[in-house]
């Protein structure tokens, strides 16, 4: 279904080790097409944070190849990787990471200032992006005055305002209640439907099941889980017993 040239993310045999003897990623391969929606599930310590850091160009693989939007990231300098990250990737975090002393609007504008978006376009884009998230009435508010769901939507607005190729969401619903999570998930779905490639890292099977491509991280190995179905009424049965037991601990990102 996905053409070679239409891949936005292509990991080939990626391993990552941390001295002295931690092997966080073991020969991970992953392909996400342009406009795709992928989820990565896994318990704490399974290596999914490491995988996310590699995908987000926040960390480099020890071995293997990573192509992002057609660019081979292996030989890139730190500066070039940073610029690629600013241009091609948008981030959403569990902890939101909004600057407390900037207004909602300023937070979104800041998201574009390092990626080279022309100055005179930033304000209009920020306004449009916040409008898209249904936050046009919150432009001058400070993050502390907003609810958790609103904060995450501000973070989403910031992530997509610069028109990245890929949205990386790290436990986007980890700090939200169920109803609010649902709203954020719907937004992710809509953005994806409009053409944005989305990769979600989560421990919540319900979130994971929203994706069309599902992966499970297990002790450094990444396994595709696309053909398994998810029954929202009985989240416990989505995986084999070992994994389900670990998820039940309710660990965070």
């Amino acid at each position: 279904m996905t053409d070679q040239n239409d891949l936005v993310i292509r990991l080939t045999d990626v391993s990552k080790s941390f001295p002295p003897d931690v092997l966080a990623l073991r020969g991970v391969g992953m392909e996400v097409g342009r406009g795709g929606f992928a989820s990565i599930m896994g318990p704490s310590g399974s290596g999914k944070s490491t995988l996310l850091n590699v995908l987000g160009l926040l960390d480099t693989p020890t071995v293997g190849r990573y192509e992002l939007a057609g660019v081979d990231t292996l030989g890139l300098s730190d500066k070039a990787r940073t610029q690629l990250r600013g241009r091609e990737l948008g981030f959403v975090f569990q902890a939101f990471h909004l600057l407390a002393r900037r207004t909602v609007f300023e937070n979104v504008v800041l998201g574009m200032s390092y990626s080279g978006v022309p100055r005179d376009e930033r304000a209009a884009r920020a306004t449009a992006s916040l409008d898209r998230m249904g936050l046009s009435h919150r432009l001058g508010f400070y993050p502390r005055t907003l609810s958790g769901g609103e904060r995450q939507r501000v973070a989403l607005a910031r992530a997509v305002a610069g028109s990245p190729s890929v949205l990386l969401a790290d436990e986007p619903t980890g700090n939200l209640d169920k109803a609010t999570s649902q709203g954020v998930l719907e937004l992710l779905g809509e953005l994806n439907a409009e053409g944005l490639t989305v990769v979600v890292v989560t421990h919540d099977p319900e979130v994971a099941s929203a994706a069309e491509q599902r992966f499970v991280m297990d002790d450094g190995h990444l396994r595709s889980w696309t053909d398994m179905s998810f029954d929202s009424a009985r989240p416990g049965v989505i995986a084999d017993g070992v994994l389900a037991g670990q998820w039940a601990c309710g660990e965070g990102a």
């Binding site: 040239n5 944070s49 926040l58 990471h97 998201g111 080279g116 209009a124 898209r132 809509e190």
Partner: protein, 434 residues
């Protein structure tokens, strides 16, 4: 109703092969690119500081103290030096004296003689503002306040008797206590008048001049026309009965005019010194000891340098403390702002841009502190000078130097925190910071 995402590029799932290249090339031609430059760095730094006003004020305050102390001490030093200099220039830098040279024993050397009209000759020189001769009479006779001489009275201390020309008085910066100094009329007509030095007047019991008291030198009476109480040179005058030179020559047998004192313009000393010998006696210009003030500029530098160095060190120590404070507070700030730093890295900030922001923040704190400090220091100098009745001296270059110093201190003390901020691993910073 929701609008599509604010995207400049619309992503189509059905994009043809080679779409990536197409997007890249379309970007490079149609999209402008505004990199994160100096303007953004400064903007972010200002916003970063403005978000923590309390910390900004406290940090800047230490720099204010340092720079303020520096500016104030330099200002005080300059004002003080100017004060000393003003007195110095008023007298030393404007006074010269000419005497017959001492016998050197060298063959062909003849000591010069100060001519009777030396003062007239001297004032013809450019830069000479006043000139007058003064001489002491060796045995003028008994000086008394009345004509009656009581042979049985115990001998009292005798005042000196001196001869002077009218121009002497301004040349030695004298001050009249009462009455007047000798004038040209007295000199031209060899009038029998006298001016008393303050101590001579006391000795003679002359306390006022408006009732035309007389003093006697020998048996000749002289009308007292004035009393002087202060001179910068020839201190003997205060102990003397001073008569016009012409009077002394005709009635008291003054053999020679003695020494010549001149008042000169600031800085004219060296040139006048060269010309003086010729002016007094073209046949024997080497025959005089001529002492003229040094060039003014040289004197000014010597004075200022002497006073400033100690104060400067004190101010610099205060400033160093300010720098350390910035460094410490800024380092704390880096640890506290790990989340923000991680986020900035995630959205595309390079290490250099992170470092630049922290250096810029410190530099702005330094600049702000320096500007306020310079103002406070200047104010302190001004207020102090007003209280003391001095003229405040504030070099404008001092303000510029203070601003530059503040920025310099800020940049220096921001280097370590900036380095720490830039070295943070973005992934770790995002995890640990909130």
């Amino acid at each position: 109703m929701r609008r599509p995402p604010a995207s400049g590029r619309h992503r189509d799932r059905q994009r043809k092969p080679g779409g990536v290249e197409a997007v890249e090339s379309a970007e490079s031609t149609s999209r402008r690119h505004d990199p994160f430059g100096l303007r953004d760095v400064l903007m972010e730094a200002v916003l970063g500081l403005a978000g923590r006003p309390g910390r900004l004020i406290l940090t800047a305050l230490v720099v204010v103290l340092g720079i303020g102390a520096l500016v104030a001490t330099v200002g005080f030093a300059q004002t003080g030096a100017r004060q000393v200099q003003a007195r110095f220039e008023a007298v030393t830098a404007r006074h010269g004296v000419v005497k017959p040279a001492q016998e050197t024993g060298m063959p062909g050397f003849v000591p010069g003689v100060v001519p009777w009209d030396a003062a007239e000759r001297a004032v013809r020189l450019n830069g000479v503002t006043s000139a007058g001769t003064v001489a002491k009479l060796d045995s003028p006779g008994l000086v008394t306040a009345g004509p009656v001489i009581d042979p049985t009275a115990p001998p009292t201390r005798q005042p000196l008797v001196m001869a002077a020309t009218p121009g002497l008085f301004p040349a030695i910066s004298g001050h009249i206590q009462e009455g007047a100094w000798l004038d040209n009329f007295h000199e031209q007509h060899a009038e029998r008048v006298a001016v008393l030095g303050a101590r001579a007047a006391q000795l003679l019991g002359v306390l006022r001049v408006d009732n035309q008291p007389a003093v006697f030198i020998g048996t000749t009476s002289y009308t007292v026309i004035g009393i002087i109480d202060r001179v910068e040179y020839v201190a003997d005058l205060l102990d003397a009965v001073i008569v016009p030179q012409s009077t002394a020559r005709t009635t008291l047998g003054l053999p020679l005019p003695g020494e010549l004192h001149v008042g000169v313009d600031l800085g004219a000393g060296p040139i006048i010194a060269e010309q003086f010998g010729l002016q007094l006696n073209p046949n024997n210009p080497q025959g005089y000891d001529i002492v003229m003030p040094p060039p003014a500029s040289q004197m000014r530098q010597d004075l200022a340098a002497d006073v400033n160095s100690l104060f400067l060190i004190l101010g610099l120590v205060a400033l160093a403390i300010g720098g350390v404070t910035i460094a410490v507070v800024s380092s704390m700030s880096v640890m506290e702002r790990r989340g923000e730093i991680g986020l900035r890295r995630a959205i595309g900030a390079t290490c250099g841009q992170i470092a630049a922001q922290f250096v810029a923040e410190s530099a702005i704190v330094g600049l702000l502190g320096a500007l306020i400090g310079a103002a406070v220091g200047g104010l302190a100098v001004t207020v102090w000078s007003i209280i003391r009745g001095w003229t405040p001296v504030l070099d404008l270059r001092l303000a510029a130097a203070a601003a530059l110093t503040g920025v310099g201190v800020g940049v220096l003390s921001g280097l370590i925190p900036a380095h720490r901020a830039a070295r943070l691993e973005p992934a770790t910073a995002l995890q640990e910071g909130t």
